[in-house]
Symmetry: C2
Subunit: 405 residues, 2 copies
């Protein structure tokens, strides 16, 4: 019998208890032993819920019980969650989590504490919900030198952009609707400003390249400035706008950024709609591959946490190789990153194309019949700094979205 | 230092040696130790190739060398490959392979021999080439009760169907072109008749459901009867024809089949073109997920073999849980499986629709202007046996393709 404690009986925590119960036989088969939830830690009471039998309010009960070998930290945040995780690992108890904020902020330190105490710190559920991506990067693509990770990493923003794309609606309206449906939080900032995706691409990049990427170093733009008009141009170009987290090796350097990008149907991420997530990986031997699935949700996320519990149960007393080292991955200045740029401008195409091409050289021009007072163009590939310098010389630019097609 | 032997210096074997050499640092980082190819077994000589330094012609040299702990069997076939694998596992040496024929025919026995001798038999490269699917099924989706696996599992047939779809060409012409490009073998039967996909869906199903699926029990239809005309209807319906391997739980029973299927753009497999493969998995907690990538090719396949070498190197002396047990998964009679059916018929739609609907009930009719002497219809969902019985009552049926949309 393997005894587990669950920290936090919120959405994910109750999901973990449910998955362990409903899929008991499958879990036993994969573990080779029974897994039993001995404690659930939460400050609240849950009258009538069977969890009351195992509910505790004091973490020291869990920490001091030598029978508990694995702890699922699904309480969130970087305060108590950090302290509790650190204490557990120092006591030789393995910890797994869905808490991307904690992994992004303190993952390096926590993994090294685990290594020093022959236990494990795992976080399959921190990126892409139920999509198996952390473990495949660590163990399946272990023979690869990975040179790109690009993902649709946030379900809320992908839902909003999908609705804007298919219904022609404006951002604010779709956001309100998403909040009503529970797809977006009351305070949506972490999602719509790209911070959530930024934490995830930092975690995935650290794992892919073996060195620590600080999420605070990730250049981040959200989707709040994307409009229904942008999607009219996107349709004319046969493209869609997606919020992508991308990190890529260019020569011997890396860049890491989150921003809205126009992609066309050739891109495997083009078809990823609604709350689905997908992560594209390029390796030097395998070429392209992609992982697709539900990026969030109670049971999918809980299932990923339980897969970590099973893996930790099978490796009691043995630290699996630590995912990345303490050194910081040096990131390129964002000005050096190359992209194409989709640019909207005031005025008519005919009156302004010469002026645009004088600054940007040959561009791909696009106009939409119903938009009489403006037009757009897509530049060739150039450095971000070069784009900024050129754009500053051109009056009348309304907005810009990066383009990869 | 971990010593490895490679059996067979063909395409995959030379790829394994190349991946270990080119990605040496990455492999050492993931293994925590250096991996060295001590022997390559092949009956041929390779004058001038550095492999000559480690080439042996006699397997007993490898078998009797206690330093060799891991063997990559990439020679193919079910004769010598079977004997050599069995002997290695009985000697406590872990084996990994890309040999799907051997895994499909003897995988159950070989895994149980490995278990008895505290070593491992792994086969990540046997399905989907470089796509991480075996290990994710085993370890990442370990908390799931899986109820469906559907994949585009054969690159050759997907290339042929993609070309037929985009160019309107006939099967024979595209096959010849694929052979010229090296995408199809001189004897293409195993691919185009669906046997290769049948072995792969048998392996994936065994893994997903934990009981052994005999590939000889898998109902298999190939793509040789698919025509350019079928693709005209597919285009009219907004669908594509793909060769799918599917296994699914229906109530308490399972079915497993390989056949061409019409799918629409809502299906995540719709966009998988050319030699790419993809595997869709449905779990009771996670919902839908999909794995996509290169299904074949020297370096992608070799990369998957090397990921197994690394995993085995990290688990010397410890058998990871065996993937499926000795019991045979009972499969439904194919007549009980439910599908929709796309059916082409001689004659005009107007003259025949009543006759069709008298037999099949309400159908979705479709006609293509340039095809004057025939039309097609798509039935509602019904059992295969019911379809066969009804089709036998209707004169003039030209062909049938299963439809899932």
């Amino acid at each position: 019998m393997i005894y587990v404690a669950v920290l936090g009986y919120g959405t994910v925590g109750s999901g973990v208890v449910e998955v362990l119960e409903r899929n008991k036989e499958a879990v036993r088969g994969k573990t080779g032993d029974e897994i039993k939830v001995k404690y659930v830690l939460d400050l609240r009471e849950f009258p009538g819920d069977p969890v009351m039998d195992v509910l505790v309010h004091d973490y020291s009960v869990i920490l001091n019980d030598p029978e508990v070998q694995i702890i699922a930290e699904v309480m969130g945040g970087t305060g108590a969650a950090y302290t509790f995780t650190k204490q557990a690992l120092e006591a030789g108890k393995s910890v797994c989590t869905s808490n991307k904020a904690l992994v992004a902020a303190h993952g390096t330190e926590l993994m090294h504490i685990a290594e020093a105490h022959n236990c494990n710190y795992m976080f399959e559920a921190s990126c892409g919900g139920a999509i198996p991506i952390i473990r495949p990067l660590r163990t399946s693509l272990s023979a690869e030198v990975i040179d790109e990770v690009t993902g649709i990493l946030n379900g809320t923003t992908n839902y909003i952009l999908s609705e804007m794309s298919t219904k022609g609606a404006e951002f604010d309206d779709v956001l309100r609707e998403a909040q009503a449906k529970g797809y977006a939080e009351a305070n949506p900032e972490a999602d719509v400003e790209g911070h959530d995706a930024g934490r995830k691409i930092a975690i995935l990049s650290s794992l892919a390249y073996g060195q620590y990427v600080d999420y605070e170093d990730v250049y981040t733009e959200g989707i709040t400035k994307i409009t229904a008009t942008d999607f009219k141009y996107a349709a004319a170009l046969g493209t869609r706008v997606k919020l992508l987290g991308t990190s890529k090796k260019v020569g011997s350097k890396y860049f890491c950024m989150v921003c809205p990008v126009m992609i066309d149907a050739e891109n495997p991420l083009y078809g990823v709609m609604d709350v689905f997530n997908a992560i594209f990986v390029h390796g030097n031997m395998l070429g392209d591959c992609m992982f697709y699935g539900s990026g969030a949700g109670k049971l999918p996320t809980a299932s990923a946490v339980v897969s970590d519990i099973i893996d930790e149960a099978r490796h009691i007393g043995k630290c699996l190789v630590t995912n990345w080292d303490n050194s910081r991955l040096p990131l390129m200045d964002i000005g050096e990153v190359e992209n194409r740029f989709f640019v909207r401008m005031k005025g008519s195409l005919i009156d302004n194309l010469c002026r645009v091409e004088k600054v940007f050289g040959k561009v791909q021009a696009v106009s939409v019949p119903e938009l009489a007072d403006e037009f757009a163009f897509v530049t060739d590939v150039m450095r971000e700094a070069e784009y900024r310098e050129k754009a500053a010389r051109l009056d009348g630019i309304l907005s810009m979205i990066r383009a990869r097609f």
